[in-house]
């Protein structure tokens, strides 16, 4: 681990100012950053501790939604009464991730900024364009079982590891950020990036910007939802494929469908055109299969991860079936 300096910011303005120096990074829960610093994957020369800033509350918005402060712990979010009752999809997704200990430390803002878990990103002795731009991608021809099948580029096939973000994508949350040039709101779908030829950039957050809150719209899909996570063991494993499915049903007819996939791309994967196929249709296995096919159009495997294409389709069908059945039994 390399030496670094450390300061504590008491408010957003100071934080933004202090993070603007070269090599500076924010630290909140530290559950990912510190690991990466210990193995020399990340080398910040200055850390700005933001945990003292008052961004740790969950409040209702005028629009009928919820605002999650960036520094609310993942565990506190998942078990918050309003989240549990109005956005159970989010609650379930958070609890499907990491471990109780990590969720107690990790913050909501930090969750959005997790780095990929690609084997090669984690090993400084192997080429990785995300870690060291221009060095090459070891994963494309290497061991890629965990990696992406959608939205990849010749430079990077990393996945975004978050579960929470998959639910936030389905719920169409908004990310509020503040930087030197002021505040802005980023629709969730635009927050994370695809690798393209800049795989070192995970998101569109600028270096001087801080996430202040995540806003949930009023519509929470609390009646028909599922977070289905498929992984290699029952807990403490990243998703091979996960599905956040949310339905608005009228009888057995789908009024609105939201589907987001995790574990398959550099960002939570949404295909609004495919979701639209369900609009006004019967909630049936046959229709779900059509959506699943449409969702995986253009998917490309790299050998070890070919199975994810079929797995994702089956997972979408299963998740939609589960989401549908909830109301039938309610």
């Amino acid at each position: 681990m390399r030496p670094f300096t450390f300061t504590q910011a008491q408010n957003v303005d100071t934080a933004v100012r202090e993070v603007s120096s070269d090599g500076a990074k924010f630290i909140a829960g530290g559950t990912n950053l510190l690991d990466l610093m210990k193995i020399d994957v990340m080398q910040p020369s200055h850390l700005v501790d933001i945990t003292q800033i008052a961004l740790d509350t969950i409040e209702e918005t005028e629009a009928g939604g919820l605002r999650l402060g960036a520094l609310v712990k993942n565990a506190d979010t998942a078990y918050h009464e309003l989240v549990e009752t109005r956005y159970p999809l989010l609650s379930h997704a958070i609890l499907a991730g990491a471990t109780a200990q990590l969720r107690n430390m990790a913050t909501d803002g930090g969750n959005l900024l997790q780095r990929t878990r690609c084997y090669y990103f984690y090993d400084t002795h192997t080429p990785c364009n995300k870690r060291e731009p221009g060095s090459g991608c070891s994963a494309i021809k290497g061991y890629n079982r965990d990696l992406a099948i959608l939205g990849t580029s010749e430079h990077c096939i990393a996945t975004h590891p978050s579960d929470m973000c998959v639910a936030l994508a389905a719920l169409e949350a908004t990310v509020h950020v503040t930087g030197k040039s002021g505040e802005r709101a980023i629709p969730f779908a635009d927050f994370h990036r695809l690798p393209g030829d800049t795989p070192h950039l995970d998101s569109n957050l600028q270096p001087d910007e801080i996430i202040t809150s995540i806003e949930l719209p009023a519509q929470g899909f609390a009646r028909n939802y599922t977070y289905l996570k498929l992984r290699d063991r029952a807990s403490y494993a990243f998703a091979l494929v996960s599905v956040a499915a949310a339905l608005e049903l009228e009888g057995n007819t789908v009024k609105e469908a939201r589907i987001a996939l995790g574990g398959v791309a550099h960002k939570p994967w949404r295909v609004p055109e495919a979701e639209a196929l369900l609009q006004g249709q019967t909630a049936s296995r046959e229709n779900f299969q059509k959506v699943a096919e449409a969702y995986l159009q253009g998917a490309q495997g790299f050998g070890h991860n070919n199975f994810k294409i079929e797995l994702a389709k089956r997972a979408i069908v299963r998740a939609l079936e589960k989401a549908t059945k909830m109301e039938a039994t309610a």
Binding site: M1, R2, P3, I39, D40, R117, Y119, Y120, Y122, D123, H125, T126, S138, K141, G142, Y143, R145, L230, D232, R233, A234, S235, Y236, A237, F238, L240, F307, E310, L311, R314, A315, V317, R318
Partner: protein
């Protein structure tokens, strides 16, 4: 009334020390003026270091030295000086020997600094340049280069019996398949660590994570040319090892090297990432050909293993002994071949060879049972053997049939339908499978010392280890029961190379070996006590022989006249309050030579497999074990539970990923190296089947360290087949293989 401590479920005597943090592990000893060493590892897997620049690291204030092949001191470099008690034949790896890189993550430098943080930083500043050479790490691609080693580490595979190829050709029912077991890394909770303390006198005191302190002592003595009596190795607690602590690892060598050169105390702790830089369970491919008559009698078994080893040592393990141990078949042919690759030498890992070999053999036998349309238990009963056919010797005891019976009954096996995919619950396909296994019950020579204080407190010691198995507790039980004193009055000490000689803690032989020595040394004390009592005036014991007296409740008495008794303390008072001491060494009895001794298990498993998604959940395990006398049913049960949990990992999760393009193990942490978590482990039932054995050793106990794991993974694989109709012959059984 005699207190029967052995055979009674007993809490760990070291439990309190462990949960309060009082128990100190190798890296935790507080040593004044300690320096910290951090290892730098090779970035390439084969080639040469062309340049190593340590100047930036050395420029940091507080960095004392960076040891590399260029500045290492000139010590002995003979192979024999680097061999240890668990070395396979070959030329052991010598850290910092020269600029040659033989495997990825090979240690190439040790940075020594005032603080750990500084050493870790300085290690990043060591810059090495390499000249890479083409490497080979792919076992499958290199199978044509397989060879039979000149010397085997364990006994060489048995000679053929009968005519396996001929019998196979003539058999009515045949199976020919290959099975792949991936590489595993031990990953004990505690990382490997050593503190080496150099003293003015030139003596070395070393705290080491090791499964046998005297192995480290001899290794350091040989490698550094220091007399054995000048090297003391201490290791009172080991946070799991599973075989990874059988051989001294490179952190020990490097810590001692630095301590000697700098004349200081130096601590070196490996990181979790570095735990993937040395020994592992080898990737092994097994080819099995089995022939049977239509009514299910085995006619022929061929079992041929191909396993990786390093370029410098020929590691092998008992992968192919199991047909001869477990099945009655007249025509058997086995072989074990090695493929040298650019990796570190594999290393014994819980039930080495047993886990690997049983996995293949027991899936193959399940496949045969299906070809024959026979119940898998019936099929095994039909081919049951009372003899160990490898050695042509009877078993000293073998209650495997009772394991089948009790295990099947507890599990409800009788209700099983043979047909795959015959049970379903919603999307979940339910499968029931079974397998059996064995592990040899061995006894090694071991010694122990006992000291009985005038107050009646007994201290027994032997240089063995407790790797979490319960050695402290079990030895205390044996001593307390033999001496007829309270368990609280016994202290067992271990993990110090100055203690009486003990074999490595491994092979499931510690209770058998050290336990027998503990019993013997207590019996020697009893003889001394009787002699002392006979010196008393008008001693009622004057004519008594040792066979005539008993020891219970802190008293010695005439067995035929219990009223004639004397307390041990009263006897000791005769000797002017001097403590009584005895030392004894116990060898295996000659009568064992005519017999074969194995622990046995039968494991029954229920799995639920999602028909669309391929996810597997092991919902029930019943493990029935016959292992002679169970000294402590509580710690014994924990051993079997641990084996069952690990078996889930072996079957479904564990494997170290090797990228052949770069020749490097890519799994470097417990996020990616999957072991079962609580959520993976459900109902697990352990049955100890009664088994009397007066031959195996004086305690009648066979050892439990390994038997718990061997039959679990194949039972799970067989249950997955029963659930899905899919036969997976390559571990781990991940969901993609079942979709």
């Amino acid at each position: 009334m005699k207190e029967h401590y052995t055979g009674t479920a007993t809490n760990r005597v070291d439990g309190r020390a462990k949960v309060t943090g009082e128990a100190k592990y190798a890296a935790e000893f507080e040593v004044p003026d300690l320096l910290y060493g951090v290892v730098v590892n090779s970035a390439i897997s084969k080639g040469k270091i062309t340049r190593i620049d340590t100047s930036a690291a050395l420029a940091l204030p507080g960095v004392h030295q960076v040891f590399t092949h260029e500045n290492r001191p000139g010590y002995t470099w003979l192979d024999s000086h680097y061999q240890d008690e668990d070395s396979p034949p070959g030329s052991p790896f010598r850290p910092l020997y020269n600029n040659e890189i033989k495997f990825s993550m090979q240690p190439i430098a040790l940075v020594v600094a005032d603080t750990f943080e500084l050493a870790r930083y300085a290690a990043l500043l060591v810059h090495a340049e390499y000249e890479s050479q083409p490497h080979e790490t792919d076992l499958e691609a290199n199978l044509p280069k397989a060879y039979k080693p000149k010397k085997y580490k364990s006994p060489p595979p048995s000679d053929p019996r009968g005519d396996a190829p001929g019998a196979f050709a003539a058999a009515e029912v045949k199976l020919e398949e290959a099975y792949a077991h991936p590489a595993h890394h031990h990953n004990p909770m505690e990382m490997h660590a050593s503190i080496a303390i150099w003293q003015e006198s030139g003596k070395l005191t070393i705290y080491d994570k090791i499964q046998g302190v005297q192995n480290s002592q001899k290794y350091i003595s040989n490698a550094f040319g220091v007399p054995q009596e000048d090297v003391q190795v201490i290791s009172p607690f080991v946070g799991g090892a599973f075989g990874s602590g059988l051989r001294p690892q490179y952190q020990l060598f490097l810590a001692v090297l630095a301590a000697k050169e700098l004349k200081r105390a130096v601590k070196v702790v490996l990181t979790r990432q570095q735990m993937f830089s040395f020994g592992h369970r080898p990737f092994t491919i097994q080819r099995l050909a089995i022939g049977a008559s239509a009514d299910g009698k085995l006619e022929s078994i061929s079992h041929n293993a191909f396993a990786e080893t390093s370029r410098f040592e020929d590691y092998n393990e008992d992968v192919v002994i199991w047909p001869g141990v477990l099945y009655n078949c007249e025509n058997v042919e086995v072989s074990h071949q090695l493929v040298g690759l650019d990796v570190y030498t594999p290393l014994d890992m819980r039930a080495p060879g047993g886990t690997t070999g049983t996995f293949a053999l027991e899936i193959a036998m399940d496949e045969m049972a299906y070809k024959l349309n026979m119940d898998p238990v019936e099929f095994r009963l039909k081919n049951y053997t009372d003899k160990d056919l490898n050695k042509d010797k009877p078993h000293s005891s073998k209650e495997l049939k009772e394991c089948y019976r009790q295990g099947a009954e507890r599990f409800g096996w009788a209700k099983r339908k043979m047909e795959p995919r015959s049970m379903k619950e919603g999307h979940q396909l339910i499968g029931w499978g079974m397998a059996h296994g064995a592990w040899e019950a061995q006894q090694q020579e071991a010694a122990a010392k006992a000291v009985l204080s005038p107050t009646g407190k007994l201290t027994v010691s032997s240089a063995t280890a407790d790797i979490g198995t319960g050695t402290y507790t079990v030895m205390s039980q044996i001593a307390a029961e033999t001496m007829g004193i309270a368990l609280e009055d016994v202290t067992f000490e271990l993990g110090d190379s100055t203690q009486p000689k003990s074999p490595l803690e491994g092979g499931s032989w510690t209770v058998s070996s050290v336990g027998s020595a503990v019993k013997l040394v207590c019996e020697k004390l009893q003889e001394q006590l009787l002699k002392l009592a006979q010196k008393m005036e008008n001693s009622p014991f004057s004519d008594a022989k040792i066979e005539d007296v008993s020891f219970e409740n802190g008293q010695m008495f005439l067995t035929q006249a219990p009223a004639t008794s004397i307390s041990l303390q009263a006897i000791l008072a005769q000797d002017e309050g001097q403590p009584l001491e005895a030392e004894a060494s116990q060898k295996p009895d000659k009568k064992q030579k005519n017999y074969s001794s194995y622990s046995h298990s039968a494991t029954f498993v229920e799995v639920k497999v999602d028909e669309d998604l391929g996810t597997v959940k092991v919902t029930r395990i019943v493990s029935a074990v016959a292992a002679g006398r169970i000294i402590n049913p509580k710690t014994g049960r924990s051993q079997i539970l641990g084996g069952a949990v690990w078996g889930i990992g072996v079957a479904l999760e564990e494997h170290t990923v090797l990228d052949h393009t770069i020749g490097r193990f890519m799994t470097h942490d417990l996020d990616k190296y999957h072991l079962p978590v609580n959520a993976d482990v459900h109902e697990t039932d352990v049955i100890f089947v009664e088994e009397k054995d007066e031959i195996v050793n004086p305690l009648g106990a066979k050892g439990l360290g390994e038997i718990g794991i061997v039959s679990v993974a194949p039972a799970i694989a067989n249950a997955v087949f029963h659930a899905t109709g899919k036969r997976i012959r390559e571990l781990p059984i991940t969901l993609d293989k079942l979709m």
